[in-house]
């Protein structure tokens, strides 16, 4: 249950050794170009490119698969909704049930949903090479070098930290509940207990984050995070970026000018 996107940062791969600034910048541009894709065939191509980059990282595929669960939960319903709601255009194939005439199923909606899903999956998979191949703080520091404002950098770093505060509080409290032989049932008592649990969890997490803040102030924190890390981009780093830019160009070109399938 740990939000450990950087669990595999110690592996060695061409993606790991890529300068974090160039890596993040290049992959973000790739992600944007994927999101602009119109054709489902190009979307498949994007998925292929994402998986290829992912394979280069040597991070076990099962680790990345877990990240897809959230996307599937979010985009999954589109497969149900879009075929029913897409406006019919000439050339669409529409199925309907003889007894439920109002339920029209438009296959183009299915295709649209598939395109959205493919793009979402390709982009989410990219977050693993983007942020999973360096220690999280170094990736975040790279963002600072890319001129992301310090306040956003701090928000990212501390929300990462606070997730751990929240989780450890959650663990402590659910243990306490188990020890007191709480067993959930479908009754008012259970509901109230969960309500109290949630309330206490939030209050405690808040109190603890305040204490973290006090500890930071005590050590001279003035609202600006001072970051010391030397990045050095070599020829190889630019080479890797230019390979990706060729792929980006390929995606856009194919998507605009290829009229097939």
């Amino acid at each position: 249950m740990k939000p450990d996107i950087d669990r595999y940062w110690r592996l060695e791969s061409p993606i790991h050794s890529w300068d974090p600034r160039l890596k993040i910048l290049t992959l973000i541009i790739l992600a944007f170009s994927i999101s602009s894709v119109h054709h489902i065939s190009t979307a498949f191509g994007c998925l292929f490119i994402s998986i290829l980059i992912l394979q280069l990282t040597k991070i076990p595929f099962s680790f990345s698969l877990k990240r897809l669960a959230a996307v599937t939960m979010f985009v999954g319903p589109f497969f149900l909704i879009m075929p029913l709601t897409v406006k019919a255009q000439s050339g669409d194939t529409i199925y309907f049930f003889t007894h439920l005439k109002f339920l029209e199923i438009n296959t183009r909606g299915l295709l649209l949903a598939a395109r959205v899903y493919l793009k979402a999956v390709s982009i989410v998979l990219l977050t693993v090479p983007m942020f999973g191949t360096n220690r999280f703080d170094i990736s975040i520091k790279a963002l600072e070098r890319l001129k992301v404002p310090n306040s956003i950098i701090q928000m990212l770093l501390f929300s990462y930290r606070y997730i751990f505060v929240f989780l450890s509080e959650l663990k402590r409290m659910s243990l306490a509940m188990k020890l007191r032989k709480f067993s959930p049932a479908t009754n008012f008592h259970t509901l109230r207990t969960y309500g109290n649990f949630l309330g206490t969890l939030l209050v405690r997490s808040f109190e603890r984050t305040e204490e973290v803040y006090h500890a930071m102030l005590s050590r001279g924190y003035k609202g600006i995070l001072k970051i010391r890390f030397e990045y050095r981009a070599k020829a190889a780093d630019f080479f890797k970026s230019s390979l990706i830019f060729m792929a980006i160009f390929g995606i856009i070109y194919f998507d605009r000018f290829f009229k097939g399938f």
Binding site: F136, E211, V212, A215, L217, S218, G220, Y221, K226
Partner: protein
């Protein structure tokens, strides 16, 4: 006694939390350089609130504080925070950086210590706390005892003049407790120690400040304090509960002394 100006001086300090809780009701206290103070009192008596005023985390509604001659006001805060190393009760809250190394470096970096000196300080502090092997570890992967030691390293690296510890040995196993006690006892700084653990207080401090309900109730020598059983009991410090925790420490003669006195009641 001495002509020297005190390192900490608190005059008539009042403080009310935003929710209306009146936590400090006129605190007066003077601490000389090199003194080691035991700050004791029941839960909720205002100990933690008081120490957070010393480096300006909270600012009193009324009263005056000076640290090393500097009034605790906005423009002196950065200097004063460099003078005071404060170890919080829960080490998990004191460790917020990605790795132990970064956490230990956090204070000195904020104090603008330069690169070479920084590395040396961090190494030294980690070594002192026996954490060299864990420098690159994320702190949330450490055991509780290791976290306590890491939290201590984070303030050692600031090289403060004054060190403040809030319950440094609470929830520790005897082995780590002994290690931490030993280190605190040998630090060459002015120290303020909040604890419910009499053996460590006795080992480290010469002077006791008793707080009660937001006020200073009594200031006395450690000798007077440990013979005042009523006061001990009132502040949840009756040593008969904790006597066996001295086992294995190298202060038998002191331990005997405590026991002899306890027999006289």
């Amino acid at each position: 006694m001495e002509k020297k100006s005190p390192i900490i001086s608190i005059k008539n300090l009042h403080f009310t939390y935003p929710d209306g809780t009146v936590a400090l009701k006129g605190v007066n206290l003077t601490i000389q350089e090199g003194e080691s103070i035991a700050l004791v009192g029941k839960n909720g008596s205002g100990k933690s609130t008081l120490i957070k005023h010393l480096n300006g985390i909270y600012q009193g509604d009324r009263g005056e504080i000076t640290v090393d001659g500097l009034p605790v006001i906005e423009e002196n805060l950065q200097t004063i925070r460099g003078l005071i190393g404060m170890a919080f009760q829960d080490p998990d809250n004191q460790l917020f950086c990605p790795t132990v190394y970064d956490d230990v470096a956090f204070g000195p970096i904020n104090m603008d210590v330069d690169e070479m000196a920084l590395h040396k300080r961090v190494q030294e502090s980690l070594e002192k706390m026996g954490l060299m092997d864990l420098a690159d570890c994320p702190s949330h992967n450490l055991s509780f005892g290791q976290q306590k030691r890491a939290a201590m390293a984070t303030i050692l690296s600031m090289r403060p003049k004054i060190m403040i510890f809030d319950e440094p040995t609470s929830n520790l196993d005897p082995k780590n407790e002994a290690v931490i006690t030993e280190i605190i006892a040998n630090l060459p700084y002015t120290r303020i120690l909040i604890s419910h653990d009499l053996p460590i207080l006795y080992q480290v401090c010469q002077k006791v400040v008793v707080m009660d309900d937001g006020r200073i109730d009594a200031i006395m020598s450690m000798e007077d304090f440990i013979t005042n059983r009523q006061l001990l009991r009132k502040n949840g410090l009756d040593f008969t509960f904790k006597c066996d925790c001295c086992n294995g420490h190298n202060h038998e003669h002191r331990h005997n002394q405590i026991e002899k006195k306890s027999l006289s009641f």
